[in-house]
């Protein structure tokens, strides 16, 4: 009997409460000591359309979803039609008994050996709860029922989630949940093999998505200011920070546009506050001019770009890793920007605080390239996984008021130094009066057009490129070192790739994965060395052009032989990567 290893898919229309009930359901299972990977798929609309949450449950830690769905929880006919092919023999479709599903689909379902579990979800919601919207409560409770997951965990989450909306709301939802749970348990649990059993003594775990991990990391790293204009999937970072602003000493500004957002952050950064701009690619496009200003005036600022498919507004709620090369070269002229690409929740947290250290150390913009899959997928993590004790604060050559008091002679903001980094003072001290300049300037910050000044200052700024390279981490290698195939990726691809390695390497070492987290300045030597040890190299990227492969070729001269590409707006699944590798090996 399969225990504690299955995937639920809760599918329905936007506006039916899929998002929040899936979150509650996942949390309830996590509270029972199980691990979760929660993938979200939704359209760019407020009501209607087709949305789903795919919640994978396991007794072991998870880094990815899988394509297979064991319990399809269908709130609409469309959810049945779209997802029944994902349900294997032994799986089940739980749905409202009144759903108008074509006979042909049910026949196909039956032919697959998938069970049908009709439940009067709407009737229970209306008659017991008094509102159709409670159908989602009924649905998740029914899913708990068929898998024999103890009701007490569902009850706890309902109490927490609806507590703020009053006892009547709690009680109505509890009654609905109880009725649906009992119905499913009594009618179907006996004929369904998959179960979820709590793991006694399991430690309490966090359940959070990449956006939350990054935002939490930013707060841990001393972020004091954030400004942004709402844009999926970056705006949840702005919202989360706004919700914690007063408690944690932040100022968070929802601005008139993205240009204002980055400009405010640059202003705050110039004056000495750690400042962040969360956005997505379209917003980042608007910010590019100010990115260059930060480069020229040597102002620290952190930009978080949760990538989505472009160009233009593209697929607003979907996945792509298409902004890598744009991030490296955005803005006219040549200057250092640091680019980080976290791929896991742990890395997103670390990028949250580390990005500020890099921005202040090198006095330049830092771009953190997240992506939709990382931003919106939730995972269970041990509390230690987001390691607060590892958080360090490095402000680089920032002069303290005491150091400025002791300063002999004049302060020159853009002093020429060997490493390209000039001692930085923020405005407000009598000895640090200067002009920050967006025009070319001399070491004092005076506008300058002479050849000597241009060459000296441009060379100084560009020396930071080599200095910053020292802070760049080598890529991480996963999987057996003797495996002949080396997959190469960046960003969230690491999560399904790790699962793909488990599948590929189950019998004999087949594949390893090279995960590039620090993208610019490019850690060329370490990448070249790792690639030199591989027999077959395959780029795995959520884009069409193979942007990382191109970057590797540019920086190392090494051409990756194969490319597993995906640019349909959806993230990689482990199975997709496995199929791609097998195709390469059998070609």
């Amino acid at each position: 009997m399969p225990k504690n290893d299955l995937t639920f898919l809760l599918g329905g229309e936007a506006g039916q409460g899929i998002e929040s009930s899936a979150t509650g359901f996942a949390k309830a299972i996590a509270h029972a000591g199980l691990h979760i990977f929660d993938l979200r798929d939704y359209r760019s609309r407020i009501r209607g359309g087709h949305n789903f949450a795919q919640i994978r449950v396991s007794a072991e830690p998870l880094t990815s979803h899988r394509e297979t769905v064991h319990v399809l929880l269908a709130m609409t006919e469309e959810a049945v039609r779209r997802h029944y092919p994902q349900v294997p023999a032994g799986g089940a479709i739980l749905y409202d008994e009144a759903l108008p599903v074509e006979d042909a689909i049910w026949e196909a379902v039956q032919a697959r050996g998938v069970q049908r579990f009709p439940v009067p979800l709407r009737k229970i919601a209306e008659e017991i709860g008094g509102a159709v919207v409670m159908m989602n409560t009924a649905a998740t409770a029914a899913a708990a029922g068929v898998t024999r997951f103890p009701f007490s965990y569902i009850e706890e989450i309902i109490r927490v989630n609806f507590g703020k909306r009053g006892e009547a709301m709690v009680s109505a939802n509890l009654k609905v949940a109880d009725a649906a749970y009992r119905y499913a348990l009594e009618h179907y649990a006996g004929s369904f093999d998959h179960t979820i059993e709590p793991i006694p003594g399991a430690p309490p775990r966090m359940l959070l998505n990449g956006n939350e991990a990054f935002a939490f990391g930013a707060v841990a790293g001393g972020c004091r200011f954030a400004a942004g204009y709402p844009m999926t999937p970056g705006s949840p970072v702005l919202e989360w920070l706004a919700g914690h602003a007063n408690q944690y000493g932040l100022v968070v500004k929802h601005t008139e546009d993205e240009i204002a957002a980055i400009c405010m952050a640059v202003g705050a950064g110039h004056v000495g506050a750690r400042a962040l701009v969360p956005t997505s690619g379209g917003g980042f496009s608007l910010m590019v001019e100010a990115l260059g200003f930060a480069g020229m005036s040597e102002t620290p600022v952190v930009i978080y770009n949760a990538q989505r498919p472009g160009p233009s507004t593209g697929l607003p709620t979907r996945q792509e890793q298409g902004d890598l090369l744009f991030s490296l070269w955005a803005s006219q002229g040549e200057f250092l920007r640091v680019v980080l690409a976290p791929g896991t929740h742990e890395e997103a947290f670390e990028a949250g605080w580390r990005s500020f250290n890099l921005a202040e150390t090198y006095q330049t913009p830092v771009i953190v390239l997240g992506d939709h899959f990382l931003a919106t997928s939730s995972r269970t993590l041990e509390p230690e996984a987001l390691d607060l004790s590892a958080v360090q604060v490095e402000r680089g050559k920032l002069l303290s008021p005491a150091e400025l008091d002791a300063l002999e002679g004049e302060y020159y903001r853009y002093a020429i130094t060997e490493d390209g980094v000039s001692p930085r003072a923020v405005p407000g001290h009598p000895k640090a009066v200067y002009v920050g300049e967006g025009n070319e300037h001399d070491y004092q910050g005076r506008i300058a057009e002479e050849i000597e000044d241009r060459v000296a200052l441009n060379a100084k700024r560009l020396r930071k490129l080599e200095t910053a390279r020292q802070s760049m981490r080598p890529p991480k290698r996963y999987g057996p070192a003797e495996a002949p195939v080396m997959l190469v990726g960046w960003g969230s691809t690491v999560m399904p790739a790790l699962e793909a390695l488990r599948i590929l390497n189950a019998e004999r070492p087949t594949a390893q994965y090279l995960h590039i987290t620090d993208v610019w300045p490019f850690p060329a030597e370490a990448v070249a060395q790792a690639l030199g040890e591989a027999r077959v190299t395959i780029a795995v990227e959520n884009n069409a052009l193979g942007q990382m492969a191109r970057l590797i070729r540019q920086e190392t001269g090494i051409r990756l032989e194969h490319f597993i590409s995906k640019y349909d707006g959806r993230p990689f699944s482990p199975e997709y990567i496995v199929r791609g590798v097998r195709e390469v090996l059998h070609a």
Partner: protein, 291 residues
């Protein structure tokens, strides 16, 4: 208290002889002397244009930024350290063209910064194209005859009033003492202050000359019957008066809580003073929100 000499810059201005920017520079320095503002206590954020080079020609904290974006950059600086005086200085093309939306949003926020706009009704640094405040029909290289400029000119003071600015004024570059007084009062004012400065471009604007203005400007407080700067309707009327008579002075000034007043995070210390330190116990508590 700084002296005019203390505020002297390293470099001489590169502006054309007779340019109104010289008057604004003098007025800014004079305001600092009169209101006892030391160079390190003030940050002047500028956009792009001849006049935006102003901090280069005096001794003060400056930030010479992007065309049209000085106001949001100044806003961020103010929010990060609200104990600094923060001022923007830029031209009409910068502030009433590209930056107009930022101006209106700053006004409705009532962020405590002062914007001085050097309004010469022409683009000087790019050599003479028409600006958002050029009169309809103005002929320039980008508004050729017969129509000249087709649009209505921006009426910045009226827009600022409608948007919610709590200090709206106009100065004249030929009278730096009077302008200095307005700038000083604007810096002392708690809230967003817009000062539009009538400022002839001696090279490219042959219409709106010093003489043209001198014949028309009058100080609102010297008009018969006096003037009440808290009267919104009167201010709106004055803000739209343009032609034979052009009012200068403080057209409007009222008290309203500033944007920063509404931010509990900076009630006691500025963001810069709060620094980057985090209490680990506090962060551990935050972690539990995810459980």
């Amino acid at each position: 208290m700084p002296s005019m000499k203390d505020l002297q810059g390293r470099d001489r201005p590169t502006w054309c002889p007779g340019c109104g920017d010289h008057g604004v520079l003098n007025a800014v320095k004079l305001a600092m002397v009169n209101y006892n503002i030391e160079p390190h206590q003030l940050l002047i954020v500028t956009g792009i244009g001849c006049g935006s080079k102003l901090p280069q020609y005096m001794w003060v904290n400056g930030l010479h930024t992007l065309h049209g974006r000085d106001i949001p950059i100044a806003t961020g600086a103010k929010l990060a350290n609200h104990k600094l005086y923060v001022m923007t200085v830029s031209g009409d093309g910068n502030t009433y063209g590209m930056g107009l939306s930022h101006l209106l949003h700053a006004a409705r926020r009532n962020i405590n910064i002062t914007s001085v706009v050097q309004n010469n009704q022409v683009y000087g640094l790019t050599k003479g194209q028409y600006s958002p405040t050029s009169e309809t029909g103005t002929v320039t290289k980008t508004s050729p005859p017969p129509a000249g400029a087709i649009e209505q000119p921006v009426r910045p003071l009226a827009l600022a009033l409608i948007a919610g600015a709590t200090f709206v004024a106009r100065g004249f570059a030929k009278d730096p003492r009077y302008l200095a007084d307005i700038i000083g009062k604007a810096l002392m004012h708690r809230g967003y202050a817009l000062i539009d400065v009538l400022q002839p471009c001696v090279t490219f604007n042959r219409v709106n000359t010093y003489d043209w203005y001198s014949e028309r400007v009058y100080k609102v407080e010297e008009q018969p019957g006096g003037y009440d700067p808290t009267d919104f309707a009167a201010a709106l009327e004055k803000a739209q008066e343009w032609g034979d008579r052009i009012p200068i002075g403080i057209l409007y000034q009222v008290e309203r809580p500033t944007y920063e007043d509404h931010l509990p995070a900076i009630r006691e210390q500025s963001l810069v003073e709060l620094g980057v330190h985090r209490d680990m116990a506090e962060l551990e508590r935050l972690k539990r929100e995810f459980m």
